[in-house]
């Protein structure tokens, strides 16, 4: 299990993701509590579809962005995901799932989170392929 502070430190300070958006996800409670406006910006969204749009907009403005969502609602991400792929927007998708065998409709780099180096390797892969990437965080992912 990785501490929420360490996770945020890696994502925000080392990998420079400063903009976050997402709908309420119970599984990310500890992560949400550890957030601070000193080093990041979080925009609560009404639903996953809106969160995706806001994050894409923030990327247009020059910020590396990230969305938080529950994998139960991944269908909502699919609606406009072609826009992300067409324009090669390097969005980091943080999906919470209690099920370790999750699948995603689109062919993008996917990693199951267990240690901090997983995020770094995913970020590298995203950069190489200039595509979005999905980090699946399980129940025992962040404490």
């Amino acid at each position: 299990m990785v501490k929420a502070d360490d996770f945020l430190n890696t994502v925000c300070n080392e990998l420079n993701y400063r903009f976050f958006s997402g709908a309420v996800v119970e599984g990310f409670l500890k992560f949400l509590k550890a957030m601070s406006s000193e080093f990041m910006h979080y925009v609560p969204a009404a639903n996953e579809e809106i969160a995706l749009g806001i994050a894409c907009g923030a990327f247009s403005g020059g910020l590396k962005s990230c969305i938080l969502f529950d994998m139960k609602f991944k269908e909502k991400i699919y609606y406009n995901f072609n826009f992300v792929l067409e324009n090669k927007i390097p969005l980091l998708l943080l999906g919470y799932s209690e099920n370790k065998k999750e699948n995603f409709k689109y062919d993008i780099p996917i990693k199951l989170f267990s240690k901090l180096s997983d995020i770094k390797s995913l970020d590298l892969e995203m950069e190489k392929k200039s595509s979005p990437g999905l980090l699946i965080i399980g129940k025992d992912g962040i404490s």
Partner: protein, 213 residues
């Protein structure tokens, strides 16, 4: 006023430093006739306004979004998001064509609300109906309105069918669009009452109050 005419007239009031997003095929084809780097054409449903919110949060340039009311009905929660963003540089122009989709009318329920203006206002958006101003060609007032408005703001305008059928052009301009947004040399055109000196000071307010009572 005809929808295409109204959109083109509105574009006259928006400054070159502003960002404009057109949502939907028909609006995109109208907007793309005079393409500039600060314009983006979105052919995905329910993406234009969230995208505009994200942009407005990450830049100080003014962001205008043109959407049909049918799209707004599809995802009404976006209005809450617009209001909650508190972005002073975000302006949503809603073209109410009574179900006008690609030159045909279909029934819809947008106008069943007692007052759409009140709904939007109570959610937290400054809201205006500019239909009369466009129909009566009060262009001076409209220019002032576009220049000095502060967001988050929605403007509703009732429109009629386009004058002509516009051929859809697909313009892939996302990279050019991003470069425009990130260009710090293009300064914002957001109205600053402090810079213009157009402020009411305490003494003025006191005088006004004395007159009233």
């Amino acid at each position: 006023m005809k929808r295409d005419l109204l959109v083109k007239k509105s574009l006259d009031f928006i400054k070159p430093a502003d960002i404009i997003i057109f949502s939907g095929k028909d609006l995109s084809s109208i907007g793309s006739e005079f393409h500039t780097p600060g314009r983006l054409y979105i052919d995905y449903i329910n993406l234009a306004i969230p995208l505009a919110i994200g942009i407005a949060m990450s830049t100080d340039k003014r962001v205008f979004v043109f959407v049909n009311e049918t799209e707004l009905l599809n995802n009404f929660s976006i209005i809450y998001q617009v209001a909650a963003s508190y972005c002073r540089n975000l302006f949503v122009i809603i073209l109410n064509g009574n179900g006008l989709i690609a030159d045909t009318n279909v029934p819809n329920i947008f106008n069943t609300a007692v007052s759409n203006l009140a709904v939007f206002f109570n959610i937290g958006c400054a809201t205006f109906n500019l239909t009369d101003d466009f129909n009566k060609k009060r262009f001076k007032i409209l220019k002032e309105f576009f220049n000095k408005s502060i967001g988050p703001m929605t403007a509703i305008m009732i429109v009629e069918k386009d004058r002509e059928i516009h051929k859809a052009k697909k313009i892939n301009c996302f990279n050019e669009f991003c470069t425009f947004i990130r260009d710090a040399s293009i300064k914002t055109s957001l109205y600053d009452p402090f810079a213009s000196g157009n402020l009411l000071f305490d003494e003025d307010i006191k005088e006004e109050n004395n007159e009233e009572y």
